[in-house]
Amino acid sequence: ERVWSSRSLACFLQGLEGQWTTIELRNEITVTGTVVFVDSKMNISLQDVQSTRLNGDTTSFDELFILGRQIRYVQVPDSVNVMGTIHNKVRELLTQRKVQMNKQQMMKRRRVKNDEDRRRAREFKLGRGRGGRLAQLDLLHSSVGQT
């Protein structure tokens, strides 16, 4: 869940979405591009990418997806306010989570209520109360018994 990224600095990277960055991988390949999406495991997808190997070979990609595990460094643009980004992202993620949880609870309550109503209706129909099947049967029995 993306919300859990608020527990680690992956949320900071998520705050960098849309920025042009340089990422150095564990195999010492340098990748420069615009960050499109970061997930809670720090997997990053980039756009308009140029990757450079140690021996100088460069390759260009329109889109590139990097596994979080393979990242060594991310060079953050200077203009980014570190703590500010983190605060904002965490707040955003936690409100998202609250909204999600409220929705889930509402759904659950609605489901429970539906089940309850259905159960009650069934019991009333089958029960001994007025209009219930068993009550009707009882009446039948009693009338049959009397005759």
Partner: protein
Amino acid sequence: MESRAEPALDFLSTEFDAERALHSDISKLDLPYPNVKPCDNLQAYESLVNGTKRHSEPSEASRVQTEAPPSPKCDAPIHRRPRKEIKSVVNVMEGEQISGPLGLLQRWWREQVTVCVSIRHSAGVRGTCKGKVAAFDKHLNMVLTDVREDYTPFRSIENGGKAPGRRKKLSVRVTPTENAEASPSRQLHRYCSKLFVRGDNVVLVAAATSD
């Protein structure tokens, strides 16, 4: 009443017949709890227990609820499990003093001490990054500012991805020390104003005593 009715209608006997009790006249039954209000259907019972007004008209022949004292257990307000508050990374950083090694890191973050972070590659130490800690987390992912990096690129990667000495099985094995002497690894330096380091690659973090 002293004398109990027949065992089939006696609530406390093992031969109690619930169906017969329901059929029989309420006034003739010997209820174990005389003060109980008999209900003739489940809805009436529930509304009694919940205390809310629901549509429940008692029929002419009133029936007894076999569960005599009304147990409010199932109708208790839904006990909400206290919602687990996610401790976000900022909470950890800015919160109370952490005990243990991370506490040191927290102190360095607060006091903006220049630290020296050793970075590793797959076979040993790659180099060090000297900078100030702007943010950290429990995995030792860090954001460092004013970073000076001294490092040596991984030899085998420079050679095109093959580790020296592993090219041919039958060739002479190149021992690591020989290799190091033959081609000494270059020490490279780099400067970066803001660097995010993934905790995987961190070997150790120390306060830099001199720049």
